[in-house]
Symmetry: C2
Subunit: 645 residues, 2 copies
């Protein structure tokens, strides 16, 4: 089943197909003709100047195939121009990363052999499609109600109106085989092939896997310290002071060092100094016709006061209601817990000691279900808030989800630790929550979609074989297979999971030192299952340039600040520390608070003192800036020479 870049069905396409476009099967012919013309048209006429061909699937007995599936490709020349357009950074002859320009193309390293990766080509095609702008057309031909606004993206418009169902990049079987082998198929102790991942899936995803790897390695010392704690001081809860101190220092240093690692990665991938493109409105954004204050053009606008009203009058109350519900469920859990403990105390045997864990397990499952339901509600609400830009949408979504997930997952632990002050229950509850949620996550995230996908694959294979006999499955089969795959919704859920794991470790692991061990084990399997799901379960996602992990850095930092406070409070509660201040609690509390303030101050100073970008990359960036200033100066002085005489 090879396909790759070689063109095996010459009747279908005479170019390397990179991106698939699927229109609704009842799309009017005139609209299709118009769209294809616009895509094929020359750039100076406002077209995208790409190659596009229809894919005709043979009719099948059980269902009529969608006739409106197209593959898009491009000439190399067009791709190189597009690379300059999107502001791609590539390695220059002298080893620094520079913005690619067509004029200087020969001065870039390895210009001739595979200069642009598949993912980059697909990203460029996506960008060119997205920025295909309406000209003078008032509406989409055949759809008088589907208005177009001059200068706005045609594809976004078609997408938001349901004419364009989806468009996605095709997998490259050869590369995928090679990548998956070096990534997760061979049994090895080496690091992940981050550069290859970036090559195939883009920087955003590669950064996620880089972070996952870094986080896992950072946890190893903690896990190593945790094991003897667990083995030898099993019932010695009050020995965790040292561990808490370690925790504090670790969580601060961890995040600061990651910033530097991420800057190094992003520099090597050319995304660190790349400028952000002017952001297009989201596909789902709608509003009354008005004037954009920035561009001065006529387009749909939505007053931000209305959005504020929706946020404060609907979203905020809804989130509060959900939080209340979460607290209510927590109280039910505690009732169950006491009931189980009472039964155990009345009749302590094996059956009842197992029963002790049942409430926690049920609670963990309920938490996961609530998180899942809330996630959908949050997405719906944030969509309804009608944010104009994707970045603003994402920020509001992340904030909503983080607040709820944090409370939902950790509220019971905080309650047990600081209100009930029951360290035995805390440890037991923490362990059950952690293990249950890990198991559920792995199932939900990888095995379930894999199983569904396998069933679907088999069906498609059987169908195709029936139609074409025993021939290898070429482009048609691959496109049909991938069209039906699930869409990968971005790194959001993956980061969220890591965020919650980070919370379990940094907030409470001093009470249950084995937490770090469990998270390390989870993350090792996570790497494999995530890698597998990216390669075989989901559609290939478009690569997304990323210079850092974005809002998640802030989220993790906030968590580490909360961790300082929590750990200090746990230290203050430990019998060991309390023993030093037998006569007065007041003094103990004052000292703990003082230490906490010093630690927080220290944390801020540390974050301030450690440069976010390593020295040698700073020098490289300064070099680039210096060169562009020098070039500017030259331009200015030739300008003078022309002016002067």
């Amino acid at each position: 089943m090879q396909l790759g870049l070689s063109v095996s069905d010459s009747d279908v396409s005479s170019f390397t197909p990179l991106v698939v476009l699927e229109l609704a099967d009842d799309t009017k012919a005139e609209a299709i003709t118009w769209l294809l013309n616009r895509i094929r048209d020359k750039q100076q006429n406002g077209g995208a100047e790409l190659l596009v061909n229809q894919l005709l699937f043979p009719a099948q007995d059980d269902q009529k195939p969608n006739p409106n599936v197209f593959v898009v490709g491009s000439t190399l020349q067009r791709l190189l121009n597009g690379a300059e357009d999107v502001g791609l950074f590539k390695e220059f002859q002298d080893g620094t990363m520079r913005g690619f320009t067509y004029a200087n193309r020969e001065s870039f390293k390895d210009f001739n052999e595979g200069f642009l990766s598949d993912a980059e080509c697909q990203y460029i095609i996506k960008h060119e499609l997205d920025t295909l702008r309406a000209k003078n057309e008032e509406h989409v031909p055949g759809y008088p109600k589907l208005k177009l606004y001059p200068g706005k993206s045609v594809v976004r418009r078609l997408q938001s109106k349901g004419v364009l169902i989806q468009y996605f990049p095709l997998h490259n079987k050869e590369d995928l085989k090679r990548l998956s082998f070096s990534w997760y198929k061979k049994f090895k102790l080496s690091l992940q092939p981050l550069d290859d991942i970036r090559h195939y899936f883009g920087e955003g995803l590669a950064l996620y896997f880089g972070f996952l790897e870094y986080f896992t390695f950072a946890l190893v010392p903690m896990a190593l310290i945790g094991i003897p704690y667990y083995l030898f001081d099993w019932e010695d809860y009050d020995k965790y002071v040292l561990f808490a101190v370690f925790n504090l220092v670790w969580s601060t240093v961890f995040l600061e060092v990651w910033k530097r690692c991420s800057a190094t990665l992003a520099y090597g991938w050319g995304t660190l100094s790349r400028k952000k493109a002017f952001e297009e409105p989201r596909a789902g954004f709608h509003g009354a016709l008005g004037f954009n204050p920035v561009t001065g053009r006529e387009e749909p606008v939505y007053p931000s006061s209305k959005r504020q009203l929706r946020i404060y009058l609907v979203s905020v109350p809804f989130v509060l209601l959900c939080l209340y519900l979460s607290f209510y469920v927590m109280m039910v859990y505690f009732d169950m817990e006491f009931w189980a403990i009472n039964i155990y105390n009345e009749n302590p045997d094996i059956a009842t000691s197992i029963l002790l864990f049942v409430p926690s397990i049920i609670y963990a499952v309920v938490i996961e279900i609530m998180n899942l339901l809330y996630r959908f509600a949050a997405e719906f609400l944030t969509d309804w808030e009608n944010h104009r830009l994707e970045s603003s949408f994402q920020n509001h979504l992340v904030l909503k989800v983080l607040v709820f997930n944090f409370v939902n997952c950790f509220a019971s632990l905080f309650y047990i630790a600081f209100v009930m002050q029951d360290m035995v229950l805390l440890r037991q509850s923490l362990a059950t929550l952690l293990i249950t949620s890990q198991i559920l996550n792995q199932v939900m995230e990888a095995f379930l979609p894999y199983w569904l996908q396998r069933r679907r694959n088999k069906k498609v294979h059987k169908r195709m074989r029936r139609l074409m006999g025993d021939k290898e499955l070429p482009l048609l089969g691959q496109v049909q297979l991938e069209t039906e795959m699930n869409t990968y919704l971005g790194t959001f859920d993956d980061y969220l999971e890591q965020f919650l794991l980070f919370g379990y470790v940094s907030l409470f692991s001093c009470v249950y030192p084995l937490a770090a061990v469990l998270v390390v084990l989870n993350n090792i399997t996570e790497v494999y299952s995530d890698a597998f799901k990216m390669c075989h379960v989901f559609k290939r996602p478009f690569s997304e340039p990323a210079m850092n992990i974005g809002v998640w850095q802030l989220a993790f930092e906030t968590m580490s600040i909360i961790a300082v406070v929590t750990n200090c409070a746990l230290i203050g509660l430990s019998p060991q520390v309390k023993a030093y201040f037998p006569e007065s609690d007041t003094q103990l509390i004052l000292i703990v608070v003082a230490i906490e303030h010093v630690l927080l101050a220290f944390k801020f100073i540390l974050a301030f003192v450690i440069p976010d970008v390593p020295k040698h990359i700073q020098v490289n960036l300064a070099k680039l800036e210096f060169d562009s200033l020098e070039a500017l100066k030259k331009r200015v002085s030739t300008h003078f020479l022309k002016k002067e005489p």
Copy 2:
């Protein structure tokens, strides 16, 4: 005594003199000739293309005048080119601020009438002089030891070797008269003429006065609330809880709103989006010859490891020693205080009740003296650390000075408040420190220099009159007068003073509500005395483009965080609050700590939520960016058209 821009001594200069250059009086003739030629040379030959003339002072009986004083001016054409060079932002036809380009000059608002202010012209000349770079000369002619490095600033080199004594901009008597009238001479209740100040002194100084004004206004509500507290609850120390809460909210909102004000001012002055120039090394920077890693050119370099050693082995211990000394002095003060209180208790009459204030007054004077001495030491040390860039020098100096000043001024107050818990003494000590330091500051800062300057002025006037009879004093007299004036060392000390006043108000004013009133009164006179000293006591400073108050914003924010902690602790100590928790201190402390954490979190969220730049300016900035992207696109597509056929 008019002079202004009209040229009244045509034998001396045939252009408007803007900047004065003073070389050492024993400078070799060949060096002078070389320097003047380089300044006058055309830009394409690497010269500055400025106009420069010698000023010859008539010989005087008592002393020989320095023959090496020069005035520098420029043609309008050169200034306009220079404006593009330094990246000046000016108001465009459509009301937005845009980077000035010579090609589009006619599209800027008011291009014809007084387009460039005096201060801008002088700034451009300074920039052109500073970036006059060595070409192939190996050393300054006549000085074989004074090496030059290709591409490095000639003027900086001459300055650091003592050949160039100083260069400064000339006052413009007409403008100055107008400015000083509208600024401080007329009795008025209007605001300061910030735009005029910026026009005459540049953005850096105008922002300082803007901040001073804003701070003073922000204090007015606090002062108004403080007065009844002071009048009616004179002995009622425990009523300050409400005031402390007000304090907390105030200090947070104050700084957030200032950021927006400052962005508005900076946008209107065209400095908000202006790019920073590539920073030249400081004049005093020295080191062994090596290669600059950024430019690849040969120049003096100084290993940062050596600098780190100097910082950690000398500077840090020195600062710690000074802090120890400050604590020692504080302890002596407390001894004096107890001694005075004992005397008063033994024999309470008017004389001994006055004696009660003596230790505080002495201590306040000693604090001021220590601050002054430390300031010199810190400057010397930071200079010795040999920082390459002025910005790095400034950061290290500010950090050193702030830490010491903070401890020196506030340590005794913290000690009284939290160790001795004596609110009566705290109030008395605060009042004495505040009033004494204000009086001392005003004297040291304005009246003393003014008095010295007046004496000097009279001497110069007399001398000139003797030489020239009763003729008006033209250029020669003005230059001689201004050459001998003191140099204004920048806004550092002015901001430092405001920082300490902010500390007195935000940290402790709830104990002594009159503090805000005193600071308001002080700042009103401060505006007048600062305005006066800028106009008549010091040399005119070069204008400095500034987009915000820089490191001081951070300093004030840090202070406001400390204020939250301090105020919460003061609330916790108040008898009024303590009365609510008669049986247990523990509960009280826990509640206070919890409230403190909530307030701190609230503060951070507030800082995060309030946008630093007002909406309408964000839109303007986005417009600018959009336009430049559009222009780029046009450039790219013409590029295609050229390439394609």
